[in-house]
Each structure stands twice: as C-alpha cells, then as structure tokens.
C-alpha cells in the first residue's frame, strides 16, 4: 500500500493543506477540526504537536502552542485522541512538531505509534536533513513515514538537490526568510523564487508554506507549486469563529 501523501500528490489540481495546533482552542477539538477540514474539501492536514519553545514560529502559532499546552496537550494525549481517526478520515495526515518532544517519547516509539494510527508523514523543522539522513531515515522508512524538509529562498542549489534526494514525498517551500505568520502578499522576489525552484525540475513536488492567508496568496503560491499550506491565518480564524467557522474559512480560499 502506497503512502496516502504520494497518492494525493499524483491527483490532478492544486492541493490545499491546513495546519492547526492540536489542543487549541480547546483540548478536545482535535478530531472535530480534522473531520471538518476533510468535509470541507481540504486535501491534507498538518497536526501541530505543541512545543514550549517553537523557534521557527511567529506570534500566532506561538500563542496557540502556549494555549494548547496550558489546556493540557501532551504527545500521549494527542496519540490517544487520534487513535480512531482513520475510521472517519481518509486524507493524508502529517504531524508537525519540534524534535525534543519526539526525542523524549523515543523516536522509534513515536514512528511506530504514527504508523499504528495512520499518520502518513512528519515535519520536524529542527531536525536537519543531514542528521535525519545519518541517524533516523531508516527508522522513519521502516514505519512507512514520509519526512518532509523545508527549503527557503536562501537554500543553495546544492543543498536543495540533496534534500530532494533524501525526500520521498514533497518539499516544503518556505515562502520567504521568515518565521511563520500571515503576510499581505507575495512580491516579485518571491514569484521569481517559486519559478526558480519549479525550473529545477526536482523529483519531489513542492508545497509552499508560510505567509499564505487568502485566495490571492494561495493562487500566487500555487502558480508553479503543487499546493500550499495555510497555518497562522487558519488559527486566527479559529480564534475568532471557532470550529463552526471552518467551512466559511475554507470557502474563502477556493
């Protein structure tokens, strides 16, 4: 059985992926948010495992992480909430989190649990590709997990090629030199960067993240990339409108 991520990437059209922080706004919202997102046509979901010190994230995701931890979210609780998720949800699910909580859980135990639940991939911003390749790739692959790496406008061509060779799903293209957070739009510099990467004809398709907040930025980002990820803007919307507002938000994107 192929990984759900790979199957999804082969489908026609552009992919909309949504990030949310597990345990926010309320500890028990996780499953309902995932179900609502699928019901409203989202293609893929990144479930954020909250961390006390999310150093790649801007204020919105930081605050949602702090709140989720205050609500009592832990790795074990998240796994417990997700244990039956595959009975109701079939789109690809990715866990996005920092490395330390995974290290404390035990990397192999973490991967094993992900496989049991039906998690398809991981995004771990502070686990560099070099360390992954040397120490953890075998374990991830043993449990059928796709690990997703980030590239930025500053990443050298040589390093992008290396990341491409280690990846087996998609490449997470960070839109600009910045932490996460919604921006007002993409300028010429970013468009040129998107195009430059597209012209590299990498093996792995690219999905753009950071700074996507509405239909306009979604369209700009997916002109040359396979899809885009919305995080902070979605969390802000959840903040104001709660889980009931999910369908309204998704309709404004596409």
């Amino acid at each position: 059985m192929g990984n759900r991520i790979n199957k999804k990437l082969k489908e026609e059209g552009k992919l909309l992926s949504i990030y949310f922080t597990a345990g926010y706004p309320k500890l028990g919202d996780t499953v309902e948010i995932i179900q609502q997102l699928e019901k409203n046509g989202v293609d893929m979901i990144e479930i954020g495992l909250p961390f006390s010190d999310p150093l790649a994230d801007g204020p919105t995701i930081q605050q949602s992480s702090t709140a989720a931890l205050k609500n009592g979210m832990t790795t074990e609780i998240l796994f417990d909430q997700l244990k039956d998720i595959r009975q109701s949800v079939s789109i690809p699910l990715i866990i996005m989190g920092y490395f330390n909580p995974m290290l404390q859980y035990g990397v192999e135990a973490f991967c094993k649990k992900c496989q049991e639940i039906g998690i398809d991939g991981l995004i771990i911003p502070d686990l560099p590709v070099d360390v992954y390749h040397e120490e953890y790739q075998e374990t991830f692959e043993k449990y059928g997990l796709i690990n997703v790496f980030l590239i930025t406008p500053q990443t050298s061509e040589k390093r992008i090629r290396f990341i491409d060779s280690v990846s087996n799903g998609f490449i997470y293209m960070v839109s600009s030199a910045s932490v996460t957070g919604a921006q007002s739009g993409f300028g010429d510099g970013q468009q040129a960067y998107f195009q430059r990467i597209a012209d590299m004809k990498l093996n792995n398709p690219q999905i753009v993240g950071f700074g996507i907040s509405n239909s306009e930025t979604f369209e700009q980002a997916t002109k040359s990339a396979k899809g885009a990820i919305i995080g902070s803007a979605f969390i802000k919307h959840l903040n104001g409108h709660g889980v009931e507002g999910i369908s309204t938000f998704i309709k404004t994107i596409r």
Binding site: S52, L69, Q154, V179
Partner: protein, 394 residues
Amino acid sequence: MKTYQADEKGYYGEFGGAYIPEMLYPNTEELRQNYIRIMQEPSFKKEFDQLLKDYVGRPTPLYFADRLSRKYNTKIYLKREDLCHTGAHKVNNTIGQILMAKKLGKNRIIAETGAGQHGVATATVCALMGIECVVYMGEIDIARQAPNVARMKMLGAEVRPALSGSRTLKDATNEAIRDWINNPVDTHYIIGSVVGPHPYPDMVARFQSVISEEIKWQLKEKEGRENPDYVVACVGGGSNAAGAFYHYLDIPEVGIIAVEAAGKGIDSGESAATSALGKVGIIHGSKTLLMQTHDGQITEPYSISAGLDYPGVGPMHANLYASGRGEFISITDDDAMNAGLLLSKMEGIIPAIESSHALAILEHRKFKPEDVVVINLSGRGDKDLNNYIEYFNL
C-alpha cells in the same frame, strides 16, 4: 588522544551539533565555514588582543587570596574577571564576536539577555564600533533588572521585550533566533554563552579561553607550575567555565569543578541545577542536558542569580558531566549568598552572585593544604547589590 574539545561537526561526545530549522542554516553555515579561519587571521588576532588589553583591561589579575586560603587551609587563587570592563567575563566574548561580525560584513547586531550582563556587554561593543544593536530580554526580566535596561539604553541599544512563553531568558533567546531567521543577510547574532547551534559553543569557548591562557602563565609565575590541582567555575550556560577550563580540558591532572545553582534545593522544584535535574534533549539548536517535563517541554528554572537561571547547559559541560571528566556540584541560594558575604568581609571583594556559587565550593568540599585551587571570579557584585541588601537586610 581522547579530547574534550569539540569535533569539526561541533560535537562534544554525543552533545552539541546544530538542530536548527532550515531557515537558519545559511546563517550558521556562513559562520561555521569562516570562524576558525577568521580567528586565526593575524589582523583579527591583533585587534582582538589589543582591545582585550586596552579596552577590557586584560590580563585580569590572578590573585592569591591569603586570608581565604588560611581559613580553608588550602591555596586559593581568584581569577579576577570581575575587573573586566562592564564587570564580568561576558565582554571577552562580545569583543570577539563584534570583530567577527565586522569581518563577515554584518551591520546589525542582535543578542539575548537574562539579567542584562550579556546585553550590556553587547551594547558596549556595539557602541564601540558604531553598529546598530537590538537586545531581546524577557518582559519579566526587564521589570526586575531595571538598572541594566537603563545601561543598555544609555549605550544606544534598543531593548525589545520578549513576550512569548515564560517571558524570561529562554524566550529572549527564541526571539533573537526568530529575528535572525527574519534577517538572514545583514545581521549577526551574538549569543552570550557556550550554548546554541554549532559553531557557537566552540566559538564562544575560544573567545573565553583567554581566561585559562592567562591562568597558565600567571600560575607559572606564582607557583612555578602552569597547572593547578583544581579549577572551579560557576555554570549558567557555561561560558566563564568554558574559558577557565579550556586549556585544562585535556590535562587529566587538573581537576575540573563546575558549580550549578541549586536554587532553593535540588528537590524543591525551584532549581537551576541542570546536570542533576536535566535529561538529554534539544534546546536552542543544541543537543545537551536540559530541564524539561516528561513530555519534552522545556521548563523554567529558578535561581537567586539571574545569570545561572538557564534551563540548559552548554554541550561541552554536558559532556564533562556525562563522561565524568568534570565534578558537578550544586549550591543553594543561601550558601551562595553567604559565600558572597564572606568574600566581601575577608578579601574586600564583592562578587557577582553567580560567582558566589563558585566560591561556596570551599564550604562544600575539602581540599588538601598543598592543593592549588583556582576559582574563576566571573563578575563583580555591583549589579546584585539590591539582592544582597534584601537578603541580608543591609
């Protein structure tokens, strides 16, 4: 030969490395590729040495503490980093890094600070060089360290409050890292201790290594030998200790003693003794020992001394602890405060509370009469006067 120095990937045994998001890779990579070469350039060395001499006031004395030695019946030398310009060893590192930043063509400096000592040392060298300076400081620390905030402002730095997480040193460090992610080209991040991703721990240790370089020739003059029996230093992140230990790391005859802050006691729940309470994990891009929950969330440490109030420890020290090369001792608030008062009364030196932790070793551990014990007096107590006043009802 087994070494306790960093290898070329920035590992001390299993500790260290660079666990950073890809957004930071170009920044640290530029530094990694250049730092050793730049530090070895004659023009760099000349300027660094000159500034340490004329501006910082080095060499700092190695002072034989006669009365203290008689009280404890052993030979005690104090390495007087408290006499450095700005009042602590921190400036050795900021002088080095500002010169590094200039060589790399950077025109903006960022730094984190807890108590404000490293922030002041950074603001100082930025004023010296006429470079823009932004210091991140936890909102809570800004409120409790008002004099140092004023110093930084006077020196022309902008102090930005860190409003995230627990709003203290670890969060100020997160904010500085985020700033660096957002400003990858023109900005250099001056980290204040031997922490963070490779090459910071090694680079900062090298800049601070002037401490043990001087101890060697100074002790030779005074005792006829370069090697003491013990070298003692307090460890927050571990930069003054790294400097004091540096040239002795691979000399097994020299005992290395690292002193951590026990706060209100190891088991009190209010402590900063990372080696006793920490587990291996990742903090600020480094694999090291850190204080954390079962679930891997980084916890907030406590010590009466703001400079020792960091939930991690540099990877060099994690390795010294794990390998048994270093002896790790933790000292409570009370014992440190008393040691500070004792030094003031017996030697006429008011130490920083951080350094008082190192001094408290004398009450906690027996040394032989013929032992030569060098204690690194990392800073002076001016900044801590309010704490001393409150504590002793002065």
